[in-house]
Amino acid sequence: MLENIILGFATAFTPENLFYCFIGVFLGTFIGVLPGLGSLAAISMLLPMSFYLEPTTALIMLAGIYYGGEYGGSIASILLNLPGTPSAAVTCLDGNPMAKQGRAGVALFITAIASFVGGSVGVVALMCFGPAIARIGLSFGAGDYFALMLLGLVAAVTVGGGSMLKSLIMVVLGLLLGTVGTDVTSGEFRYTFGFLELRDGVSLVAIAMGLFGVAEVISSVREASKRKIMEKVSMRSMLPTRDDMRKTFAPMARGSSIGGFLGALPGAGTVIASFLAYSTEVRLAKDKSRFGNGAMEGVAAPESANNAAAQTAFIPTLTIGIPGSATMSIMLGALMIHGITPGPLLVSDHPTIFWGLIASFWIGNFFLLVLNIPLIGLWVKVLQFPYKYIYPVVIALICIGVFSMRTSVFDVGLVVIFGGLGYLFQRVGYSAAPLILGFVLGPMLEENLRRAMLLARGDPYRLIADPLTGSILALSAFLLIWAAFSGVQNLLKARRITDMPAGEA
């Protein structure tokens, strides 16, 4: 264990890796600060550029963008009441009232500290449980993998919030898109329509950029032009009182544990973690009326939760090879593009990558602390910069990024299609995250199902009879039924509410 940690730090402390770690967290914070553009779009934008780097260095940078985005997202929440990233939405509830009371500096300070605490707890959890889970993963068969991936997809549909029918549609559409290309087993071309470019499948980056980059920019253009920000945040205004510090200690601890646990589960992710941490604080508080009016705990708990979850999300991705969220599936795609197969063997076969990456998380979190406390003024400036000069550049970067990936004009054309579809989906309440997850997991799901059914001689009962496979499948079925049931119940309740006079239902 100790030697692995030393190996990790030795890898992460090379000048090159330190530099790209810094670049990663810096860009992540930058993108996180800008409302409307998430870390997912940022990672896909920089993916083509990471080809010029060593795999470890590339991953350190891409991961930095991801958790850096979690830090940056809350800055826009506090100052503008507009979440920079979805998981920072909860921070608006109490962070923005604090800013209105002239305590923006304190809120930002608490956020940075809570994020650091949460991130650190997440990294420790990753160090302790990652290798152990990888060892368990070694004994998994094709059936178990199939069942686990199915569970991940079901969890994304049921836990993800929003309409379950719509999420299901998105997952199935993603799985179907995943079948485009050459069938691994038979070599037959499926849905290629005679295009050479489609033989390797639809480009993941083109889909992600269309759905998350272009679509988000289109829908943010109108709102963004109206935004105004006034305040200046000085270093002095950031210092919390001793009483503030005392009050936030326990919420940070609770938030980190909730986030650390949820982050490792499939489907849950940072958004659910921050919401759950917030509602836990509300439930535990003696005086509930303070929440929504600038309660310190309401900032500290969700911020530590989403950063802890951002770190532990790497556990299933790296050690079993099953991503729990859309962003993690892009990370998985990045690993595979660099020729590394994530899974139980990653920890033993590529220790420098695994431990180097973990060590870089520590360093990255430390960089972020520096970026978010002494350099906070920089991000306030970024927020003040007119958005109209930013989004054209984002669109141009998306284009060049997709194009240079395979020097393919065809892929840029795909961005047009997925950008248009993504905007339509967004307008009518479909979330694109399950689609990406289905797309990445689809080919693996199919391959493992085919292998498992071959071993089970075509008898599905044999598949279910395996204790592990059977129980994971049962769990997925239970989740689906439970969600469908509570969905129907909510529908009935909603009908009753709409019968009543219009209020704040």
Partner: protein
Amino acid sequence: MTIVSVRLVVAAILALIGIAAFIIGLGFEFGTARRMGPGYFPLVLSAILTILALCEIISSLLKPEVQHLDWRPLIAILSAVAAFAVTMHLFGMIPAFLAVIGLTTLSERNFGWLPALMLAATISLAAYLLFSRFLGMSLPLFQFGI
């Protein structure tokens, strides 16, 4: 004038994708449960997609809502990306950057042509320095024809 709900249109598109994928999928070998052919997975998935999309069509007919679309940024940005693809292919990187930025700025009615032009010029120069000089990507800056 009748307003067709966007939700209905999207659900219909999804149903059409499902039906088309199913019909094309019939051309692949289905195989058996034991030895699944290349058509097994796509057929099952497209059938599920079609059924789910039909449910969504019904549900959107039951509860009609009106959503509005921001047509201006939608058309401006999509055509900017498409223009990038075409100009990159025909004329090289610098014209492609000018085209994509120029068209994107049309998303706002009052962007102004001077700021748009300056932004396009600055970004093209920065892209040249970053991609060609710093990262050493071998992308044609200017070219003509295919």
